[in-house]
């Protein structure tokens, strides 16, 4: 009798073990706080879904693409991954189609229109937006105060590029900040200036590159001069020096990056910082981007993956999740959400986003941009090294881009 009970217990236990699904999630992190926050939400999901165990593999952002490429190539894709705009375009052919799980129009209608081109490949839905990103400039308030330079707070009276340059000069010469501007080594951040100059990478038809223009030339020449005149430390674009380190250590007065740094910068104790509206040239603009969650065809648990993605991007979960991570939710109903001490900074990013033309998002949702990213950056570096003129660089990028679009 005792034996029979033991067998029953064993079978029950085995049943529970075998009935449990393991959801494989690849999650990239940029700030040290992100992992603990996501772990908390994973536990919430497991508690709400007792039959599911979520196994998370955390990877640094720099290794994300390679990790996913190898998993997909080895026919062992994860069930769910957190990705950026470039990835969602690259992994489109193997993306899990969420349209099979939702009513497409009501699902898409939950999110900001700027994020839809990234995820909607009519009729397929290849992912769900997690948050919206915007490029922007962080500044060291102490250095600006020391130099007696006032940063515009009214978004209607932002600096022109010339005024911005003057401010750089004053802050560098009259404050403890050794450098005027740190600048992320990416084509994406460079493009902030291109759009402000009224330029764009790809024309309205989406079939031709449009970078070889007067606006492109103005942008690249202005950018190269910032290096030549010592405003941006050369090491950041020529030898991979980390621009964030210079800003966080209080040596750089400004840092061109984006809102995803807020969580990390909340740890800065040695100086006061803020976010300034992006300077304008011809127009005001930032570059919208975002983080997304996507599933993969051929993963072990596609249904559970879709369920997890929908849960994570639902109003009940996504709003507190965004607030915990200090990021801008991609949901329409997040409008007016408060972030406490970062409300001012977030208001600046939101203001820049609100005046950004829609073609900026279209440029970056074109798969050609994901393919050409590194190439464009390389051509810009050649200009900085004096190996070619800005005009030559633009012609080369244009030719390579058109080849790809053909």
């Amino acid at each position: 009798m005792k034996k029979a009970w033991l067998i029953v217990l064993f079978l029950a236990f085995a049943g529970i073990v075998f009935a449990q699904r393991t959801l494989q999630v690849v999650w990239f992190t940029e700030a040290p706080t992100e992992q603990a926050i996501f772990d908390r939400y994973v536990k919430m999901y497991e508690a709400a879904n007792p039959g599911t165990k979520v196994e998370v593999t955390y990877v640094p952002f720099q290794q994300l693409t390679q990790k996913l490429q190898l998993m997909v190539a080895g026919n062992t894709p994860p069930d769910v991954a957190r990705v950026v705009t470039a990835n969602i375009a690259e992994f489109d052919p193997v993306a899990l189609d969420l349209a099979a799980y939702v009513d497409s129009s009501s699902f898409l209608n939950q999110f900001l229109p700027s994020q839809i081109p990234y995820i909607y490949r009519k009729p397929r839905i290849i992912g769900a937006p997690l948050d919206v990103t915007a490029n922007g400039i962080f500044y060291n308030k102490d250095c600006f105060a020391e130099a007696g330079v006032k940063v515009p707070t009214n978004s209607l009276q932002v600096w022109t590029w010339e005024q911005w340059r003057e401010a750089m000069d004053k802050v560098r010469n009259n404050s403890k900040c050794r450098f005027a501007l740190s600048y992320d080594f990416t084509t994406h951040r460079f493009s902030t200036l291109l759009y402000a100059a009224g330029g764009r990478f790809i024309d309205a038809s989406g079939k031709k590159f449009a970078i070889d223009s007067a606006q492109g030339l103005r942008t690249l020449s202005f950018f190269a001069d910032l290096f030549k005149d010592g405003f941006i430390p050369k090491g950041q674009w020529l030898s991979n020096d980390d621009p964030s380190t210079l800003f966080r250590s209080g040596q750089s007065a400004m840092y061109m990056s984006g809102n995803w740094n807020l969580a990390q910068f909340s740890q800065i104790k040695n100086f006061n910082w803020g976010v300034m509206p992006l300077p304008r040239d011809k127009i005001r603009s930032t570059v919208p981007g975002g983080k997304f969650v996507m599933g993969f065809k051929g993963s072990k648990n596609p249904d559970e993956a879709a369920k997890f993605i929908l849960w994570l991007t639902s109003k009940e979960i996504n709003l507190p999740f965004s607030k915990d991570n200090m990021v801008l939710s991609a949901r329409k109903d997040a409008k007016g959400m408060k972030y406490g001490q970062f409300d001012d900074a977030i208001a600046v990013f939101q203001s820049d986003l609100s005046v950004t033309p829609s073609y900026v998002g279209q440029d970056w949702s074109n798969p050609a941009m994901a393919r050409l990213n590194t190439f464009i950056r390389g051509e810009i570096v050649k200009v900085l090294l004096g190996q070619q003129s800005p005009k030559q660089a633009l012609e080369t990028i244009q030719a390579e881009g058109n080849k790809l679009l053909r």
Binding site: V94, S239, D241
Partner: protein
């Protein structure tokens, strides 16, 4: 009969696990790499089309590949030359077994046990143009900073020095082993005949060290051709592509360019170069 068969099979049984591991982790990926190099494809769609030698033909016109190949040739030549000379000098200087020499040997060997990433980070901390210790010291002395990693020529020099520093200790140990096999009687006899230390070096040490020198040259050449991590961390191949070597170009082609089949063709070329160089070196050594 059974006993004889067993005796025949025993060595193969002992070799089997190693052969199996070698086959799975070395030979099989090599074969895959070779096959991939004749196809067009990517990570997502897999192998899509057989293109014969098209990838190899394309390499001949690929500026990025040819530039990285030229950089690699210069890098290998200088690194191997410096490594052989420096490690031989260290071995001769530290050959005698004294406490001071033992400590010095440990000091020179330490970089070998460091991860290449750590070496890259350490050198970056020293030579970074804006954040580096050396430029900070120069500035505090009223000197202008040197663009160590932002000037093409300086960056190449720093990369070569960092590589030599990280390898020299290992080859020093091999040279010390080689020096210890030279009978001391030869030196004693040479001294009696009035040979100067310089003559002893050229007439005794160098000829008798030839097999060791060959071994060091082959190993250093192979290692220099495979250089990747130190450079990735130190300069990431920059400024521009000034320090981008073949292995990094293969990595970039495969992962950033999402073109693993074309990267495989580049790997096959690297393998062929290494094989050829090793055969030539062995042939030269046999002939001499």
């Amino acid at each position: 009969m059974k006993h004889k068969m067993g005796r025949l099979l025993t060595p193969y049984l002992f070799l089997a696990p190693n052969t199996l591991i070698f086959g799975i982790f070395v030979v099989l990926p090599m074969v895959y790499g070779l096959v991939y190099s004749f196809y067009r494809g990517n990570f997502i769609g897999g192998l899509q089309q057989f293109v014969g030698i098209e990838n190899y033909r394309q390499l001949l016109e690929d500026r990025a590949f040819l530039t990285s190949l030229a950089h690699t040739a210069v890098y290998v030549l200088l690194v191997v030359l410096l490594v052989v000379v420096l490690s031989l000098m260290l071995a001769i200087a530290l050959r005698a077994t004294t406490l001071g020499n033992a400590l010095a040997r440990i000091g020179f060997y330490l970089p070998v046990i460091l991860s290449p990433v750590v070496v890259g980070v350490a050198w970056r901390w020293m030579f970074s143009s804006d954040l580096g210790v050396i430029n900070a010291v120069l500035s505090s002395l009223g000197q202008s900073p040197i663009p160590w990693l932002t000037d093409i020529n300086w960056a190449r020099a720093v990369v070569i020095l960092a590589s030599v520093w990280s390898m020299a200790g290992f080859y020093m140990v091999i040279f010390i082993g080689g020096l210890n096999t030279i009978p001391t009687e030869l030196y004693q006899a040479a001294e009696v005949d009035g040979a100067s230390p310089r003559q002893q070096f050229w007439q005794i040490t160098l000829p008798l060290l030839a097999p060791t020198t060959l071994l060091v040259t082959i190993l250093a050449t192979i290692n220099a051709f495979k250089a990747f991590e130190i450079i990735l961390v130190l300069t990431n191949g920059g400024p521009g592509d000034a320090t981008r070597l073949l292995v990094q170009n293969i990595y970039l082609t495969a992962f950033e360019g999402a073109n693993p089949t074309y990267a495989s063709a580049q790997s096959v070329v690297l393998f062929a170069i290494l094989m050829l160089l090793t055969l030539v070196q062995l042939r030269v050594s046999r002939d001499s």
